[in-house]
């Protein structure tokens, strides 16, 4: 792995300058402050909430829904993807259906979900699952179909039962693709949870941000947005950590190939 | 007056670990105008580095390169380097005709007869009829011909070729060797050729420099005096051919 990570002085400098511009620009124009409060105010709002505030409660609600939705999607998406990818006949059967449903933006499912499940947790999780399953499913199918036939024949030579082939050969061999799908699904799940909360929710960060906007508490609103961004960033980092551990074999292989 | 002079050329690389390795040790040689010369050496001995340095794409760590009495510090205007990976060098968004015309455009020729000239060159390299094809539609050998045509369109005085036939199958290689010799005798360009194929070098060149392993230095200079035009059957059948080949082989192995 090529190191040489010099500290990006100019980058942080320009970012810092931007923040300063924001801070003083906002202070200098009191009318603007309603829409764009200085970052110091936002941080203050954040601090207040962190100690004793509704924001933390909303955050945990959102995180809970996210985890439910994401892991459910992962299980469904990977399992379905492996099955559809491996059994050609099933894939042919479902292919047209998939091609039909794919172009529809998954958020359009929200009103249907509201109709069926109301505006509670189950609606939000259901919508999240619908949207998140897609990238996981597609990438898993892709991964399975790209597996070298030699690998599968090897499994057969060892007289492995079908389910063992799926579990011990197919799953690991397709894992790079699956990981890609899971990574994309991560951001999609977060987007859907917050979106659903915005459209029809009474709790959660999505709802909170919109609510604060309605009440013109821009400081709180930006604080909420910041929190969502931090959440997304943290989830990404966690994912990379887990992925590095689980996919150590591939990292080594890739490093050797590029050498 | 030589068209190309290399004086004490050496090139070091700095590794990511910080150490520096020498790719080229100390190269000194001269090439006369119109010659066909080759460098032969084992793989990884720094032949590409040598050629890139002569072409002005790399700065030497020591020594200098003089082309037409001017010291090289950047790509000289009358020289073209043909890369080994021709498929990465050809312009995928241009047809064969477009690629060859690029050579003319680079020379400053955007006139109406540029198309005609390009057409002529395409036929010269044996690709008549493929003008409107795109590189990905052609075989490896054909792609290499396009690269050669493009380089010739530039009308260089010096043509440097980096193992151009290395990744082609044996039969295509022989075909292209003869095509290249025909082009060379017609256009009278000076050609500096590098290869790891000893017999190819003997077949093509008038002079050969044998390179050592890294860091490369010139082990020997050999004059090849087989009559031209060379012939794949008769020239290679000469007893002297094998003698030279074995001589070079032994020198490289040591």
């Amino acid at each position: 792995m090529n190191a040489l990570k010099r500290f990006n002085g100019s980058g942080w400098l320009s970012f810092g300058l931007l923040l300063l511009l924001w801070e003083f620009g906002s202070r200098a124009a009191p009318k603007l402050q309603l829409y764009l409060p200085p970052p110091s105010q936002v941080l203050a709002a954040l601090g207040r909430s962190a100690v004793s505030g509704p924001m933390v409660a909303h955050l945990s609600v959102t995180v809970g829904r996210f985890l439910d939705g994401y892991f459910l999607s992962a299980m469904i998406g990977v399992t379905l993807g492996i099955v559809l990818g491996y059994f050609r006949f099933l894939h042919n059967l479902f292919e047209t259906l998939i091609e039909f449903l794919r172009p529809m933006p998954s958020v359009a499912i929200i009103p249907v979900a509201i109709l069926m499940l109301g505006i509670g947790d189950s609606m939000i999780v259901a919508v999240t699952v619908y949207a998140t399953v897609w990238p996981i499913l597609i990438n898993t199918i892709d991964g399975v179909r790209h597996i070298d036939d030699v690998l599968i024949q090897t499994g057969r030579t060892f007289r492995l039962p079908q389910w063992k082939i799926l579990w011990r050969v197919i799953l690991p061999a397709a894992s790079p693709y699956i990981v890609t799908g899971l990574r994309i699904g991560l951001s999609i799940a977060l987007i859907l949870v917050t979106t659903a909360e915005m459209v029809a929710g009474s709790k959660g960060l999505g709802f909170f941000i919109l609510d604060e906007e309605r009440s013109m508490n821009s400081g709180n609103m930006y604080a909420g947005i910041f929190l969502v961004a931090v959440l997304g960033y943290t989830l990404n980092r966690l994912f990379l950590l887990v992925e590095a551990k689980a996919m150590k074999w591939r990292h080594g292989m890739m490093a050797r190939q590029t050498a | 007056m030589s068209i190309l002079e290399v004086q004490g050329l050496s090139k070091n690389y700095r590794q990511t670990s910080g150490e520096s390795t020498a790719a080229i040790g100390n190269i000194t040689c001269q090439v006369e105008a119109g010659e066909f010369v080759s460098f032969v050496g084992p793989s990884g001995c720094g032949k590409t580095t040598l050629l890139m340095s002569i072409a002005g794409l790399l700065t030497p760590s020591a020594g200098r390169v003089i082309v037409h009495n001017k010291e090289v510090s950047g790509p000289p205007p009358n020289l073209v380097l043909l890369f080994q990976e021709y498929n990465k060098s050809l312009f995928a968004w241009r047809s064969v005709l477009g690629n060859v015309r690029f050579g003319l455009e680079a020379r400053g020729n955007r006139s109406a007869n540029a198309a005609k000239k390009a057409q002529m060159l395409i036929e010269l390299v044996g690709l008549g009829g493929f003008e409107n094809h795109y590189p990905w539609e052609l075989s490896g050998g054909m792609q290499q011909r396009v690269a050669i045509a493009r380089a010739l369109a530039y009308e260089p005085e010096l043509l440097l070729m980096d193992e151009p036939f290395g990744s082609l199958d044996a039969l295509t290689r022989l075909e292209l060797e003869d095509s290249l010799l025909a082009l060379w005798s017609e256009l009278k360009t000076t050609i500096v050729f590098i290869t790891h194929d000893i017999e190819e070098a003997i077949y093509l060149s008038s002079r050969i420099w044998v390179l050592s392993r890294r860091p490369s230095e010139i082990i020997d200079e050999i004059r090849i005096s087989f009559p031209r035009p060379r012939n794949q059957v008769s020239t290679r059948a000469e007893a002297r051919f094998m003698e030279i080949r074995n001589d070079i082989y032994r020198k490289i192995r040591n």
Binding site: S14, F15, I110, V112, L115, E213, Y222 | K88, A92, A106
Partner: protein, 255 residues
């Protein structure tokens, strides 16, 4: 290959028949899942009366504006960042700070500044499409093979000519990828922004239909959205084939 598709179609048709039956015999509450025939009838009516096309046009106006604005700003920016290491380092920190913000979350900010007007949606789409376009463009310029760049050098091309004649064409497939990836993002965001803050557009239409319990209408709206997504994809492919015919040919051959 054709038999494959036939099986798929058959399966789909079978599902549609099952839907029709299941809803007609009220195995599933037809108030929530109306029969397919009713939905299709509703859909045809609304398309012919112009109601759905009108909503779609409104949405597409905003979507296109945001999309092309993003392309106009972020393709040049990506090229600049790809060419100049210094420029890249200057901007990358700010970009990495903004990137983790999920685009829908920006909607309330946009609402603060622009209310429920078109500009709100345009801004949101602009923000959302920025990253795929920027990053793909940057990648495309940055990851050009050194052989290509050295080829330009050995032919004595000036820096300007190298950028215009070599770097841009070589990077254009990747730039195209960024534009392609942004297309569904554009569609998603226009729907979301209309659901959260709008009084018209196809997104609002679907949500509003649900609120008024005009369920068949809601499904009809969803169908039109699926068709829109499909049409946009085909349109993009057409443009891809026209503008980058050389690349299109290359890609098809790999398949």
């Amino acid at each position: 290959m054709r038999r494959r598709k036939f099986h798929g179609f058959l399966f789909l048709a079978g599902l549609m028949v099952i839907w029709e039956i299941v809803s007609q015999i009220e195995l599933i509450n037809p108030l929530i899942v109306p029969p397919l025939s009713k939905i299709l009838k509703n859909f045809t009516e609304m398309v012919l009366s112009g109601q759905i096309p009108r909503q779609i046009l409104l949405s597409m106006k905003r979507a296109a504006a945001g999309y092309f604005l993003a392309a106009a700003v972020f393709i040049p920016l990506g090229i600049l960042m790809g060419l100049s290491q210094r420029f890249y380092r200057m901007l990358i920190v700010t970009i990495e700070m903004l990137r983790p913000v999920p685009p829908p979350v920006v909607i309330p900010v946009a609402m603060l500044f622009f209310g429920l007007e078109d500009e709100m949606k345009i801004f949101v789409i602009f923000f959302a499409c920025a990253w795929p376009i920027l990053l793909n463009t940057f990648d495309g310029v940055r990851n050009l093979d050194w052989v290509l760049l050295n080829t330009a050098k050995t032919f004595g091309l000036s820096r300007a000519r190298t950028i215009w004649q070599i770097i841009l064409p070589a990077a254009s497939p990747q730039i195209m990828t960024g534009l392609r990836v942004s297309l569904p993002i554009m569609l998603i965001l226009v729907v979301i922004s209309e659901m959260v803050g709008s009084t018209d557009g196809i997104g609002y239409f679907i949500l509003d239909s649900q609120r008024r319990f005009k369920v068949a209408q809601m499904y009809a709206g969803m169908l039109s959205l699926a068709l829109l997504g499909y049409l946009l994809n085909q349109l993009f492919n057409l443009l891809h084939r026209r503008l980058l015919s050389w690349h299109w040919g290359m890609m098809r051959r790999v398949e």
